[in-house]
């Protein structure tokens, strides 16, 4: 009986895995950081738990590597495999020139698995962390991300983003001209465990997370014209928020979750509006014959930045919501659009094209100093979305004729891509911290 259970479990897991394998995004690091801190992550010892569906140490190692701050040494270079403090010989690890060492072991604890892990500062020869977490086998990947978050925060002082998620849209061309299948997905921040939450033959775009991480607002053309919808991620429950004549676009949740900024052209030209969800009240924010679109809230909720063509081409403007004052933020380049704030509110990340009319890149612009930094260099980069700890920016790029997602650290030191097996991937939206 027990054996049968085991077999059907394996089959079930296999089924899920194959489904995930198709939809998941695979990671390809395209630019590393030679200044990264060398670390060693030793495979976690297994104590009476048999074969596990996830390699916890491997997940932690890859997570830390993708921040660009850490360079895990290859497993084959490990000269010993300690699993707790009593097996650790600092001299061995100094020889390997690693600054930090991570070890652990997984054992059974009732119905659950128990993971003990320890982190050592090899240079100072001291133990920095010794913690344990428990969880069911199915939650092993979640636990690996949780441990990665704990270690990252301990070593850098900054909160980790390994347990966050991303939403994104895929478009697959079907047979026949201009026939597509559009899908809205939610996945782990590393592109794994992707699941489809909406499928349509009409375009889906501009997903935006509610601040509590439970809902997505997005634009869907399923009725033959654009409309803004709100969908509960867990239950799939959804409702249509807007149905105005003309554009219904760029939904952006306010930091307090009470309001949604959006673009409507109900009065003839695209303008920014704010809709108060509770009071069901719509307020117009901009009033200009040019294009005004792509609103994004400052973290303190006092400003919106938006794209406007009022100076001719698209540039970034900021509106003070308390008095309606508007000032222009971007001046370099002839195309600056779709800005998103860094979590501290100091910088915005946007799509930028230089005055020569060349590449569409992702650039960071310091609001106070006006200094601009160009972070990416492929020809058609768009849709920047900032990780909730401000360390990374995800964006969409074209690789040949295929759309893929890219990630660049906000200091530009590391870059990696998350391509899908088939179809175009686009419109990434990084979730807030999820508890």
């Amino acid at each position: 009986m027990k054996k049968q259970w085991g077999l059907s479990l394996v089959l079930l897991v296999g089924l899920f895995l194959s489904q995930w394998a198709q939809a998941n995004l695979t990671i390809r690091i395209t630019q590393g950081n030679d200044q990264a801190t060398p670390i060693a992550v030793v495979p976690f010892a297994r104590d009476g738990v048999g074969v596990l569906p996830e390699d916890v140490a491997q997940i932690i190692s890859q997570n830390l590597e993708r921040t660009g701050l850490f360079a895990p040494i290859p497993r084959e270079d490990l000269i010993s495999l300690p699993s707790s403090a009593r097996d650790v010989v600092y001299r061995d690890w100094r020889l390997l020139r690693v600054n930090y060492l991570i070890v652990g072991q997984i054992s059974r604890s009732g119905n659950e698995l128990e993971i003990r892990y320890e982190v050592f500062d090899v240079v100072r020869q001291e133990r920095l962390m010794a913690e344990r977490v428990t969880g069911r086998t199915e939650a092993l990947r979640d636990r690996a991300h949780f441990i990665s978050d704990r270690i990252y925060e301990k070593l850098t002082g900054q909160r980790g983003i390994f347990s966050t998620q991303i939403a994104y849209v895929t478009a697959e061309a079907l047979s026949g001209r201009a026939e597509y299948r559009f899908r809205l997905h939610v996945a782990d921040a590393d592109g794994q465990r992707s699941r489809t939450i909406l499928t349509s033959h009409e375009p889906i775009l501009s997903p935006d997370w509610s601040p509590d991480g439970r809902r997505l607002a997005y634009v869907s053309f399923e009725q033959g014209r654009p409309a803004i919808f709100i969908q509960e991620i867990e239950t799939g429950e959804r409702f249509q928020l807007t149905n105005f004549r003309g554009l219904n676009g760029s939904p952006a949740w306010s930091p307090d979750g009470q309001r949604i900024a959006m673009t409507l052209s109900r009065d003839g030209q695209p303008e920014i509006y704010i809709y108060e969800l509770e009071q069901r009240r719509l307020t117009r924010v901009t009033n200009h014959f040019a294009i005004d679109t792509e609103p994004s809230w400052s973290p303190d909720g006092r400003y919106l930045v938006f794209t406007s063509s009022r100076s001719g081409g698209p540039q970034i403007y900021r509106v003070n919501l308390s008095n309606g004052d508007i000032d222009r933020l971007s001046f370099e380049g002839n195309y600056n659009a779709r800005a998103r704030f860094s979590p501290d509110g100091d910088e915005i990340f946007m799509v930028h094209r230089d005055a020569g009319g060349g590449l569409f890149s992702i650039a960071g612009l310091n609001i106070e100093t006006g200094r601009m930094r160009i972070l990416t260099t492929s020809p058609l980069d768009e849709s920047p979305t900032v990780a909730p700890n401000g360390a990374m920016v995800m964006y969409a790029l074209m690789q040949g004729e295929q759309g893929v997602l890219g990630v660049v650290s906000t200091d530009g030191r590391i870059r990696y891509e998350l391509p899908a097996a088939q179809g175009d991937v686009r419109e990434p939206a990084w979730s807030p911290f999820l508890d």
Partner: protein, 181 residues
């Protein structure tokens, strides 16, 4: 507005009449050279006959145009320059044909689908596509098409006509499509 309504077809008919008239007078000159002694006798008659023929031809042409106005136009797509929404002069004939059709068929409904190429951001392109649709709508409305017959829907860069990142592909994707319902 009522005057504007039929101004285009009538203007065209007038131009056609003028062209036919010119052809007639040239022929007259030729015949003068060939049969000299008949010139005085037939000149007035010939002129009258030519004018009559021209009038008949113009009337037939106008009638044909009106019949054509009842028929579906043949071109359903017009194209735009990068980041622009103004109508290029080569497409006025296409728009006039649709205007004539829509006016001759008051029950016809058309969705003016605005599209852009893939460059630039998606929501900005959504707005740009709408501007292109609105340019066409404004022109058709000036010709006298009822606003209840037209709707603008922008797809931005979401539904390219052709895939690809070449200049040609981009040019084919910056467009407004007439989608009759």
């Amino acid at each position: 507005m009522e005057l504007m309504k039929y101004s285009k077809p009538f203007a065209l008919a007038a131009v056609l009449a003028l062209v036919v008239g010119c052809g007639g007078s040239t022929q007259e000159g030729v015949s003068e050279d060939v049969v000299a002694d008949e010139v005085l006798v037939t000149d007035e008659d010939a002129r009258r006959a030519e004018a009559e023929a021209a009038r008949r031809e113009a009337a037939a042409r106008a009638e044909q145009m009106q019949a054509e106005a009842g028929a579906m136009p043949e071109i359903f797509t017009i194209y735009f320059d990068f980041d622009k929404s103004n109508i290029r002069s080569e497409f006025y004939d296409v728009l006039n044909a649709h205007a004539a059709y829509l006016m001759a068929n008051p029950n016809a409904r058309v969705v003016l689908e605005g599209h852009t190429d893939e460059r630039g951001t998606r929501e900005y392109n959504m707005a740009l596509g709408e501007r292109r649709g609105q340019s066409v709508q404004r022109y058709l409305s000036l010709q006298g098409v009822a606003s209840s017959q037209m709707e603008v829907v922008s797809y931005g860069e979401e539904r390219p006509a052709v895939r690809g990142t070449t200049r040609e592909a981009h040019a084919q994707n910056r467009r407004v499509e007439f989608n009759y319902r």
